[in-house]
């Protein structure tokens, strides 16, 4: 461990178990660390879990599953790809992934923002939720695999498809299956059969463009690209057609 300045710390995570690493993070944050750089991260799970201050955690390597799960405030930046379950039930903070992220990214998130530069795996944003001012956002620069936005109950999910070639379509199927809250914005378009039965398609309103523009602006800042160029394309909005799509499923 290197103490660069009083509040800036570098930790070599090579060979450190996930429990010891998270214990160390807890200690350092309790002692007032404001920025922690983790080097040689390789599969350690739950990084940043149960931290509740806005500490910046920069990860070099490949963090393990459930990155930032349950966290409440930290700003995690990953220089590499993330695995499955990033932002699991996070309450506040940010996760910025300079690469792709795996399955169930942002699952059950209750607040905070997740920005993924490239693609995400299956079921991104599954059961994200919102309450009053707690409104999570998941911004995906590339494309998603199937069941993106599944059972979404709140929040904002944005699918930019920036790495799609000219004329290439989003490949995800079952988009928004079981969705009953929140909003999905998709750059480009999708076929009717790719959508879950519970979502409707609409044009964006001015309010939508304002919300979208803010998140795209943040995305462009994080990954150094041109927000105007991204916004200068057609988008569609997916919304939940019912608040309780399965309300009658088990009512006999």
């Amino acid at each position: 461990m290197i103490q660069t300045t009083e509040n800036e710390i570098t930790i070599d995570a090579a060979g450190v178990s996930f429990r010891d690493l998270n214990t160390k993070l807890r200690e350092k944050v309790a002692c007032g660390a404001e920025k922690i750089v983790l080097l040689n991260v390789c599969g350690q799970r739950y990084i940043g879990t149960d931290l509740n201050s806005p500490v910046a955690i920069n990860i070099v390597g490949t963090p393990g599953n459930n990155l930032g799960s349950f966290m409440d405030g930290p700003q995690i930046t990953v220089y590499g790809n993330a695995q499955d379950g990033s932002g699991n039930t996070m309450n506040d903070g940010q996760i910025i992934v300079h690469g792709h992220a795996g399955d169930i990214t942002g699952l059950a998130a209750r607040g905070g923002n997740i920005f993924v530069r490239d693609d995400v795996g299956y079921r991104a944003g599954i059961h994200m939720k919102e309450y009053e001012d707690k409104k999570p956002a998941l911004v995906i620069g590339g494309t998603a695999q199937d069941f993106v936005g599944e059972y979404m109950a709140g929040g904002v999910l944005i699918l930019l498809g920036l790495n799609l070639k000219q004329g290439e379509h989003h490949r995800a199927n079952y988009i928004g299956t079981g969705m009953h809250g929140g909003i999905i914005y998709i750059r480009g378009t999708v076929e009717e059969y790719q959508l879950g039965k519970e979502v409707g398609v609409a044009e964006l309103t001015e309010d939508d463009y304002r919300v979208l523009g803010e998140y795209v602006g943040d995305y462009a800042d994080h990954f150094d690209c041109d927000a105007k160029q991204i916004m200068n394309s057609s988008f569609i909005k997916l919304y939940p057609r019912y608040l309780r799509p399965y309300g009658r499923l088990y009512a006999y």
């Binding site: 390597g61 963090p63 695995q83 590339g142 695999q145 199937d146 490949r171």
Partner: protein, 388 residues
């Protein structure tokens, strides 16, 4: 079986969140390499398993015995060894029999005696019995016979120029026990087990093997009953009370006996949904529809990721809605398959490409079409990449 309740947990995070770990690596140029890398890689996913099963499959392992069937047999009693060797000696010429070298470590409890035999079918037996069936068929039947009729004896590997090593322990402990870092092969697969429905025992660890096919599996085959009944009609007896067994027999039936290529086998195991088939071209509709009808009993339902391997080929496949993870990496001519990307990065930090394939899309590494080094660039595209 170890009693997990007695293990002290100083972190008091008593909830066990596990799932199996699987890993495969193949140099598609055929160059052999030691097990050192894959042992570290599967060990990096230590916490996915719980120490109740670990194992490895190695191909290109015995170039000095390329044409012999390499029987690897576990014995739990001397009587079983005597009976099995008598059975083998009647039918096979044993060219070499040796105790598989092991090095006991404190994690390995009560291991069976493991002996390997390099054998060929006696000419007169082959002449009499291998007229309407191949020598491989004959060997598969004999293995089934030993495993179902001789108590305390279990053939867990019977292919040529390959072997399975497995047991109860974490995979890195099993590797140390069998000293696998000393071996070389061009294709390795590995498994760390978190048993869900059956107990942890030496034969129940992965890989499961029949002839030279092996399978490592993360997930559950919910269609086990349907698959088992289908396979029984073709003479396969499911005796190990574990779902993964049906995958091994199914691939043996489809690949070795029905001669189907792995691309087609993937469509039998993980077929597209009917409404997705209906959007395909007429030719594809006919082909995919026929497969679903003819082999409906071999559709694998439920969550799974498997890595299949046999001589010269390694295949990664998930269920069609990808309820279990699979990440792919390529470096030079080497193909990596893993439950987690970090395990690949540990032993190969500078991959040419890493991506996450779509559910049901097979990822195939083959000696017949080796990966041309440099054909994968750095621009990763996780979703939507086609298989190799």
């Amino acid at each position: 079986m170890r009693d997990l309740g007695h293990i002290q947990n100083p972190y008091s995070d008593g909830k066990v969140i596990d799932s199996c770990s699987i890993f495969g690596m193949m140099d598609t140029s055929g160059k052999r390499f030691s097990g050192e890398g894959i042992i570290r890689a599967i060990g990096n996913m230590h916490f996915r398993g719980n120490g109740l099963g670990g194992g490895f499959a190695v191909y290109g392992l015995y170039p000095e015995h390329p044409d012999d069937y390499a029987f690897h047999i576990m014995y739990n009693s001397d009587a079983a060894k005597i009976e099995t060797e008598e059975y083998l000696n009647h039918r096979f010429d044993i060219n070499l029999a040796e105790v598989v070298p092991t090095k006991l470590n404190e994690a390995i409890i009560n291991p069976p005696l493991v002996i390997r035999y390099f054998a060929s079918i006696k000419p007169e037996i082959a002449h009499a019995h291998c007229v309407n069936q191949s020598q491989d068929d004959y060997v598969v039947s004999r293995v089934m016979e030993i495993n179902t009729h001789i108590a305390d004896s279990f053939v867990f590997s019977s292919g040529k120029n390959m072997a399975v090593f497995k047991g109860v322990g974490y995979p890195e402990e099993i590797a140390e026990y069998f000293q696998l870092a000393q071996y070389e092969g061009y294709l390795w697969t590995a498994h760390g087990r978190f048993p869900t429905n059956t107990r942890g025992w030496w034969g129940g660890a992965h890989p499961f093997s029949i002839h030279d096919w092996t399978v490592v599996h993360n997930g559950e085959i919910s269609s086990y009953g349907t698959n088992k009944r289908f396979l029984e009609e073709y003479g396969y007896e499911c005796t190990m009370q574990t779902d993964t067994e049906v995958v091994a027999y199914a691939v043996d039936l489809l690949a070795r006996r029905h001669n189907l290529p792995v691309e087609i086998i993937a469509k039998v195991f993980s077929p597209p949904f009917w409404h997705a088939i209906n959007r395909r071209s007429p030719e594809q509709q006919e082909m995919l529809g026929t497969l679903r009808q003819v082999y409906s009993g071999l559709l694998l339902n439920g969550p799974f990721t498997i890595i299949l391997a046999h001589q010269g080929e390694m295949i990664g496949l998930t269920d069609r809605i990808r309820l279990r993870p699979l990440t792919v990496g390529v470096k030079g001519s080497t193909l990596y398959l893993s439950s987690e990307e970090s395990a690949i990065r540990l032993i190969c930090p500078d991959l040419d490409k890493a991506w996450i394939p779509m559910g049901g899309e097979p990822i195939i590494g083959s000696l017949k079409s080796p990966i041309i080094p440099g054909s994968y660039n750095q621009n990763s595209a996780a979703a939507g990449s086609q298989g190799i």
